[in-house]
Symmetry: none
């Protein structure tokens, strides 16, 4: 019963933590780190300011935790594709589609991550993680390009990522800045997919 109560409260604690993290991610993405007030996050999460500090030691740590959890959750769907028994060609096509959708949907958050990782001041640790995440993504793509016989898989991976990120930026400017169907077709052709 003691163990049960403990595990129940532990579960409640974990849930509350997730709830705050999700709220933090939303607000940080909308306003950026400095323009976000801890009280904004508290309000969005439906808890009091004090509660935030029961779960996270500072605003900065909250920021880091929110983005760590985002990066982790992002790996999952891509990992699932990679783990499947499919030809590299097919995997790249699927990743391209997923990445454009996913990245476009969360580009505001990516932008903030880029900005944060690049900017002096906040979150040095986070920057390292983000860079590792980015390098890892490139390595994965490069090995797929190698599998399909691309003569310069490293460069192909970089260009592939560049196109996806760059298109996502354009979607941020305006949702119809370019024709998505034609663009994806063109990308496929360019990379021999």
């Amino acid at each position: 019963m003691g163990a049960n109560a403990l595990s129940r409260s532990e579960k409640a604690r974990a849930e509350r933590r997730e709830q705050i993290l999700a709220a933090a991610l939303e607000v940080f993405a909308e306003k950026g780190f400095h323009a976000t007030r801890v009280s904004d996050v508290a309000a969005r999460a439906g808890v009091s300011q004090g509660t935030i500090y029961w779960y996270f030691p500072s605003k900065e740590e909250l920021f880091r935790a929110a983005f760590m959890s985002l990066m982790e959750s992002m790996m999952t769907p891509f990992g699932e594709i990679l783990a499947q028994d499919l030809p590299a060609q097919k995997k790249l096509e699927t990743l391209m589609e997923m990445a454009l959708t996913y990245t476009a949907e969360h580009m505001d958050i990516f932008l903030l991550l880029f900005h944060t990782a690049t900017t002096k001041g906040v979150a040095q640790l986070l920057a390292e993680d983000f860079k590792a995440f980015y390098a890892n993504w490139k390595a994965t793509l490069a090995s797929l390009f190698r599998e399909i016989g691309n003569p310069d898989p490293e460069t192909a991976a970089s260009l592939f990522m560049a196109v996806l990120d760059g298109l996502s930026l354009q979607l941020l400017i305006a949702p119809n800045f370019f024709d998505q169907t034609r663009a994806m077709e063109a990308v496929r052709r360019m990379f021999g997919l």
Copy 2:
């Protein structure tokens, strides 16, 4: 003599303004809007805080003015290339090289501009200008792609910009994230340059 004195003081005023604007651009790019203190800009420009307010009515206006002046100054070199009597093919190649260099050099600022233009709160006017600037850049590229007989110049322009922006982001992550010579060669091939 009176005219002389006037023009001298006018010149001094313009110079002082430029000096503040340049400092502002540096600091804003490094830290972002909210993390930048007016006193940072003043210190960087070598003037007092009060002086900033003699030239600009608020921090927000200073921000806008700094980015307006950046966008204007960016148009100049590109405009010069476009004005020359060269084949479209050659112009695109030159623009690509310039853009990658230029964009990579100022990607921190671009990132901030994207983030600002996308984020609720500061600088709605600036956002409009940035979007117009971006759309204009695309139109220019599209017309060049049309000249060289590209079957879908709009899409080509978007992808071209996407690659350049995306590569610039990677340079922000690490200066040697990819091999620039090989990447540019690949881009040239992809776009038939």
Copy 3:
């Protein structure tokens, strides 16, 4: 018990508010609106600057609240006299004595109120309230003068108020600027009391 805790905290909040209001009134009366710093009020009330802003949204609102509460608290003793079952003659005599004492004691505050209500800039709402308060005071006096058969009760009320306010100003200049006993005797004679 829950209700008890609630009412205790509500009471604490109200008390804290009163404490700040009283401090604000003192300092504003001493120095005027613009010369008063929020930190002065905070220090006088024994709280931090931040606490002021927990209870009042701005210095201006604090000013308004302080004077509203003063005007309300002033009505009470006069209202009690008026409510008693006494001849109008006796009421006027009592009011005269009370008013001179009370007004003289708070003339610094009145002066500030006059100045504020008359001056462009701060507190238009407050000005309206003060004018209403003043007009109401005159109407009350006029009806008492009518009761004792004064042939021109409106004028009598104005003159009565004028004497009391004017004498209070003199007391501000110097506490012994005139002989209070003889002055009150003379006022009584002039107004047939």
Copy 4:
């Protein structure tokens, strides 16, 4: 010629000084000491901020000088009445009329003077002068009341001043707060004029 030039420039200097003083009086009366900016006075006087400091060492000294000059200029018309060869009775009547007109017209300035003279902080010297001015005004009135055989001329003087000041305050509240003709008639009767 040297002497002539000097006196001409001296005259110009004196005129410029008056011009600033007049502007200062207006603005100070409108806004009070602290809410008035030196640049307001400069603008009203049609000179630059720097010029103010050529004539007055500080804002506070400017304030003092402005009110000194006001008090001096106020003495003149009253002094003229007093110097005339008229019965005391007639002098008092004339003074009453003049005072009510004059005081009512400048009550905003008086209010500021009272407030300033009464308030901690600015202008201790000015406060002394104002008190002296006020005491002197009372002495003059008292001697006139003595001449017309008033049994308690000191008290009469205080009450007379009180009525005039108090009525002026009411005029500040609203120009038709009382009937001026009937009020002056009543005052005359009360003081045996």
